[in-house]
Amino acid sequence: MRVLLIEDDELLGDGVRAGIAQAGFAVDWLQDGREAEAALGLAAYDVVVLDLGLPGIGGLELLKRRRAVGDSTPVLILTARDTVTDRIAGLDHGADDYLVKPFDLGELLARLRALVRRGSGRGEPELLDGDLALDPAAHTVKLGGREVEVSPREFAVLHELMAHSGEVLSRGRLEDHLYGWGDEVASNAVEVHVHNLRRKLGADRIRTVRGVGYSMGRRTKAP
């Protein structure tokens, strides 16, 4: 899961970035509305955390522009304004959810997961693949009812593959969802994580589509 955090406050931005990273999500943090607009036009994010009082262009204006060009990425607004009018304005401009400062980090993460889940058209919180179950909130992976130890990165790769069951995900896309812009990425990082996951979950669970990427789910049992 890849999150774009747009927050101009140094301390709050740093904290939210760290908190999202702790949850095992890739996160990019921008402090300027214009830069954020450019970033949204370039990369695919699963969810956006948007502060309203931004330099450059304001949060609401940014939101309006993205919706106008057909970007439907889920957006959660962070705001210091808590009147009903403010909330209505935010939601009407195309936000999917809002949180009033100060908020609980756990609630923010839960809401982000819910937004992504809804965005992918699923209702249930757990991702299932046969007897393999991944719980994004509890951060657990169970195989046949028994919990399997996975690293945060491995969890993120598995999460991404299971969330897009049946699709072939390129190595680049998986990397995008594993690492924020500041993170160091080894060239074979995704291969290493997939290798470790196969070792823990069984070799045929993740399918390699040669020259394209990896895939899980419905068609894995084919040839």
């Binding site: 101009d8 406050d9 140094e10 904290g15 760290a18 980090l105």
Partner: protein, 510 residues
């Protein structure tokens, strides 16, 4: 009227004044009547005396004939009827109380006493012989009115006297008879006046009730109803006051709301960082988050301090002005910021020296200078310099703080004085520093301008304050804490530099 007594109620005061005025008028009228009655009574009694005198003289002349040697004691007196041995004191109760007591002596022109009506009279003439007309005499402690008449043909003279105290007692009775009804009328009048004043001040009472029923934050204008002309100015003044209060309350509410919102973001940052620290998997991650918690707390503390400064600036800040040595205030604040400036590799340059007195509030001026210098140090160029120029321009004191940082774009220069307005990408200040500066300048009756520094770079903040008259006492240069303090470099060492007023420079656009 001397000083008014302590006012307890308008009604009581009105009542006292009205009653006092009424009583005064009555007393004047009674005195007038008394004086008038006395004069009329005197005329009347004198006329009676004259009439009685003429009868006595005629009868005496008839009786005496030429025989001046005969003593006529008794008979004539009895005929006149009103004379007796002890005239008033022993008069029987049947006599009328206004009955006149008359006595007389008949003298021959050569000084022999021919007759007198009672033995109580002295054997000497009451009035020296030869005088004519009315006289006032006192005999044995009683005042008498004496008339002297003469019959030149018979060669006799009559001295008739009448008690004078009767007249006074009669006049007093007249006055007393007027006082009694007044004494009865006065309480009635007081009651009526009380009712009248109660009715008269009812609109005032009504206004008081209207005001006393108000909630403390109800600053709506008074009900628009017709008021007596005496109350209209009061109601108008109250409405004016309420309007000012309303505007003030609105400002305060806006300020409180803004302040509360401004506190939310740093609070959110604190909570988030604390939760990150709790969930940290590595010591480094935890240490970083906890460090951020400390930074966030410092920032909140600064914000709260600035908020308090601004809040305290609101009411009556102009009180308690004194002569302040602005140059000493600047030196102190420079010393306080020296460490931070050194850490950023910055240099302070002072221009202008000598005593600069400003009429103002010392703590506020210190806050003003501190805010200006902090801004310059925090937003100035790292390794750059901050120039502080202090001097006089006519009767004003000019202070300029110039840095060589990014400055403030012209479009932003109005808004930077707004509360909580921050420039994009300039770190987590409170957004209150320049609001505070502007407010302090306003309180001191000064002006503030923002402009570019020299060569069009950086920010120049120019402040003009009304100067106080410079006192002749020189300031001991050794007491200046900035002297020799690194990184405080005084002036540039050029001869004459730093002396006298700062070079006038056209004001930058605000």
């Amino acid at each position: 009227m001397s000083r008014a007594p302590r006012v307890v109620s308008i009604r009581a005061r009105l009542l006292l004044l009205l009653l006092g005025a009424t009583v005064l008028c009555w007393l004047v009228a009674i005195t007038w009547s008394y004086v008038d009655a006395r004069r009329e009574l005197a005329e009347l009694f004198d006329a009676q005396l004259a009439q009685a005198g003429r009868i006595v003289l005629e009868r005496a002349a008839d009786e005496l004939g030429e025989d001046h040697g005969v003593e006529l004691e008794g008979e004539l007196g009895d005929e006149l009827g009103h004379t007796r041995e002890h005239p008033i004191e022993e008069s029987p109760g049947s006599d009328h109380r206004y009955e006149q007591s008359l006595h007389f002596q008949i003298w021959s022109v050569d000084g022999r006493l021919l007759y007198q009506s009672t033995r109580d009279l002295p054997r000497d003439p009451i009035v020296p012989l030869g005088a004519r007309g009315f006289f006032d005499r006192e005999l044995d402690g009683t005042r008498w009115r004496v008339l002297v008449l003469a019959d030149p043909d018979e060669g006799i003279e009559a001295q008739i006297c009448q008690r004078a105290d009767l007249r006074a007692s009669l006049a007093a009775t007249v006055a007393r008879n007027m006082l009694v009804p007044m004494g009865i009328a006065l309480p009635v009048l007081g009651l009526l006046l009380w009712l009248a004043t109660t009715a008269g001040i009812r609109p005032l009472h009504h206004l008081a009730t209207e005001l006393s029923k108000r909630r403390v934050d109800d600053v709506a204008p008074l009900a628009a109803e017709p008021r007596p002309s005496e109350l209209a100015p009061l109601a108008g003044a109250l409405d004016g006051l309420l309007e000012r209060l309303r505007r003030r309350l609105e400002l305060e509410r806006g300020f409180t709301a803004d302040a509360a919102h401004e506190l939310r973001t740093p609070l959110a940052a604190l909570k988030t960082q604390a939760q990150v620290a709790l969930g940290a998997r590595t010591p480094e991650e935890r240490a970083h988050a906890l460090g951020q918690v400390v930074r966030g707390t410092d920032r909140l503390t600064h914000l709260v301090r600035q908020l308090l400064t601004l809040a305290r600036l609101e009411p009556d800040a102009a009180q308690g002005f004194e002569e302040v040595h602005l140059e000493l205030v600047i030196d102190e604040q420079l010393a306080a910021l020296a460490q931070e400036a050194t850490a950023r590799g910055m240099r302070f340059v002072r221009e202008g020296s000598g005593t600069i007195l400003v009429s103002g509030n010392r703590p506020l001026l210190a806050t003003l200078v501190a805010n200006l210098l902090e801004n310059a140090v925090r937003h100035g160029r790292q390794g750059g310099e901050v120039r502080i120029e202090l001097g006089r321009e006519g009767d004003r004191v000019a202070l300029r703080v110039v840095d060589d940082g990014p400055g403030i774009p012209e479009a932003e220069r109005e808004r930077v004085f707004d509360r909580f307005h921050r420039l994009p990408g300039r770190g987590g200040g409170s957004g209150l520093g320049l609001s505070i500066v502007a407010r302090i300048v306003e309180v001191h009756g000064g002006s503030i301008t923002l402009g570019n520094g020299p060569q069009g770079r950086g920010l120049e903040v120019g402040i003009r304050l009304p100067g106080a008259v410079a006192s002749p006492g020189p300031v001991d240069p050794g007491s200046l804490p900035s002297r020799g303090l690194d990184p405080l470099a005084r002036g540039s060492g050029r001869p004459g530099d730093g002396e006298g007023p700062v070079r006038p420079r056209p004001d930058a656009p605000p």
